[in-house]
């Protein structure tokens, strides 16, 4: 391959993990405000979805950068995929469990006992919940798992006590709906219970890193700077506008809330003035813990030494 040349990869395809929404606020901000252009890059941002897999597309050469969850990365690495993590978008996993305090009281993990807990079998919420239960020595026969789909009716109807939800995205929408009906909500957060399961990260291939280090660097810088700007409270108005443009189904009032929570999950290093610059930090310990959880649950069959695949920028 060519050693040099940001121009050799043109245009760059960037595959997101999910549909355009608040979780890609910085990516969208970069697109709208020309962060990539300023680095001399042309980038196509493409929405993802459950049937999409950015890592596969990286390997097939259809995408050059992508967003993947940590469990995807670890699985891919365990199967020999030459993937590298560039930026860890979330410091706190946004996956939490919503519940209605009028119906159940969850003050500590022990309160999960004998509850109906919604999990997506095969999804990373299953891994998180199992890790949590095992950490607090709650037998899996002491809780009732309920297989979750995209339809919230069982939760609305009270058949399920806790429902897995992305804290910064649907949670705001669903929460608002419930609150409008005078049904208060609360969240059970595994992170605060000591489970550190890494969420979304920006990835690329080792080949890309080797053949086009400049491009990778420029891309990463553009992206991180865009994310920092997007999380900056002073830009709130414009960020909302940008996100709403790509995600017209979510009203600006909701996006405000979502943005606030997203900021807390991506930059939990004190207030923005102090912590903003640490956006994207790769939390090595959390990655190792994630790998361990997966190993314990036999989702991978051998240690992968995930730290070797984390491209820690200094």
């Amino acid at each position: 391959g060519q050693k040099n040349g940001s121009s050799s990869v043109d245009p760059i395809n960037y595959r997101l993990k999910w549909l355009f929404n608040i979780s890609s606020a910085g990516d969208l901000w970069a697109d709208v405000n020309g962060h990539f252009q300023r680095q001399g890059l042309t980038v196509n941002i493409k929405p993802g979805g459950p049937e999409r897999d950015a890592i596969r597309e990286l390997e097939l050469g259809r995408a050059h950068f992508g967003v993947a969850s940590a469990d995807q990365v670890i699985r891919a690495v365990s199967k020999g995929s030459p993937v590298v993590v560039l930026v860890q978008l979330f410091q706190i996993n946004p996956l939490q469990w919503i519940y209605r305090p009028q119906h159940v009281t969850i003050e500590s993990p022990e309160d999960l006992t004998s509850k109906n807990i919604g999990i997506t079998f095969g999804g990373n919420d299953e891994t998180i919940m199992r890790a949590l239960l095992s950490k607090y020595q709650i037998g899996e026969n002491e809780v009732n798992f309920f297989s979750v789909r995209y339809d919230y009716t069982p939760f609305y109807k009270g058949d399920v006590d806790l429902w897995p939800i992305y804290r910064n995205a649907q949670a705001v929408i669903i929460g608002k709906r419930l609150q409008e009906a005078n049904d208060p909500i609360a969240f059970f957060d595994p992170h605060s219970a000591g489970i550190r399961f890494v969420a979304n990260s920006v990835v690329t291939t080792q080949k890309m890193l080797k053949d086009h280090p400049e491009t990778v660097k420029k891309f990463t810088q553009a992206l991180v700077s865009a994310w920092i700007e997007a999380m900056d409270p002073t830009n709130t108005e414009k960020v909302i506008e940008a996100v709403h443009h790509f995600d017209p189904d979510t009203s600006p009032e909701i996006i405000v809330e979502q943005l606030k929570i997203t900021r807390d999950l991506t930059i939990p290093f004190g207030d923005f003035e102090k912590g903003g610059q640490f956006f994207g930090k790769i939390d090595l310990a959390a990655w190792k813990e994630t790998e361990n959880m997966m190993l314990n649950q036999q989702l991978i069959h051998a240690p992968v030494n995930i730290e070797q695949y984390l491209n820690v920028w200094d």
Binding site: K46, E51, R52, R56, Y150, D151, I174, A181, D183, D249
Partner: protein
Amino acid sequence: MLHRRLYQFFIVYGIGICSLFSIKYILNLSDYVIPSPIEVWLTAVDVFMRYSVNVLDTLSVAIIGHVLSIFMAIVVGIIARLTTGIGTLIKIAAFNIQAYPIVAVAPIIFILLGDGLASRLLIASMICYFPLLLSILGILTQPVSDIEHFFQMTGRMTWQLEVKIRIFENISKLIMVITGSATLAMVGTIVAEFIAANAGIGYTIRIALYQSDLAKILVALFIIGISTSIYLVCLEWMGHMLQKKWEG
């Protein structure tokens, strides 16, 4: 005809939505399980234009997919008539591939074709071509001996002619099947958008699902229903014209 179809659609849709609201009030379900009529109305006012544009986008892909799948079904139907190994193989392949749910095959399709229009069209036509294929196979394998006899006797029979005769003799059935499968083309496209996610009403529905917003889904279903009706009427009209022209 259009007028009648739309009118019928309104009745069906009306019945559907009224029973939904009845359930809501009988079971005393809250607005987050089934939205209130007012909420549905407000949502409609809010998203109608935008959703209509999305539906038009979807409809145009659906039409292409439909044409493609008619083409695919006819080609497979013709090839499957052959008694040679390759004919049987293609027929069996067509049946076997259909035996898989698209959601299971989607990852493989994306691996093979990427996420351009190609995948979307393939998924859309895979969903709608099968009923067409079934009917076309049925029609193409059933001899019309009182017409075919002459051509067979005089050695003039070609597969093209055989296909033409059998299609002609079953043209009204075929038009019905093609018209009917148009709704499946629409479904196929929506599902493809649902999976391949970048535009169209399928994408919108998915977001609404993700936001657990039944009101939006009801509005989307309404617009989909109307535009599918219009498409069906166009097809029926075209079929009618074609038949009139062909049958004299």
